[in-house]
Amino acid sequence: MWQWANAYLHMLGAIVFVGYSLFWGIMAFALGRRVDGTRRLEYLTMIRATRWPPGGIPEWGRIPLLGLGWLFLLLIFLTGVILLNPGGFRMEIITTAIAGGGSLGQLFTVKMILVGLICIGQLMLSFRLASGTMYAMLAGALCVTGVSALLVH
């Protein structure tokens, strides 16, 4: 039951993170078709500055959009670590899985590299709202999903 609940949270976190990446990708593409580069950056900066929930609680308690992305990633990471080893996290879990070789080890390595790239993309959005980063994050999130499907199988 505990493992099921953990896997469920991992899946939900992944689904919402893909939604988050899709949102950035759609906004970058749709704004790029409607306004010039300067206006596009202006609108994307406005969007990045928004906070959730938009009302009901004090400003300091609201989470910025990028913060939501980090929260989803944290949820995915923590539940992922527990899925790998219900007893708790040890660095050997990662190194053993990578060093294990075989198709499982290779797929896991690819997944970890993609997750690392997504984190770099997410970090880059804090400094520069480049369309390429948003598209790459979406592509990365979808590739991680595909690799995860193969890993579970």
Partner: protein, 144 residues
Amino acid sequence: MNMFWYEVCMVLHLLAVVLWLGHMFFWSIFCGPMVKNIPPPETGSWLREVSLSMGGLGWPALTILVVTGIVILGFHGTTVESALSGQLFAGQYGHMLAGKLALVAAMIGYQAVVGHRSAPLAVYFNMLAALIVIALSVALVRGF
């Protein structure tokens, strides 16, 4: 059917789920309220409109889910006879599968009747159905 096509269907099935439900959850819970409240109100409304301009993931995703779902069930040995006789829905696994398929049918009904029209209450029932479908799917793959 060889393993390659089974794996292709698994990947497509999961990609359709995360894109469709990710869009649904993120837009309904986070992005919609956030973008709508960007000042001034005209800018917020326009940005919300822009964010919704590339929606329409429901039907394509559902089509992929149904087709790949049937192929995956077939790979596990499910036949039309076992489904019609009720043998497929026997036992704990069968009950969970029946629950999942019933909820998916309800979500297809929602998509056909409501679609992208405004239905504040119905949308939450649809999201609840989606949450239960995911829960059942995880249980079907990993067990409880």
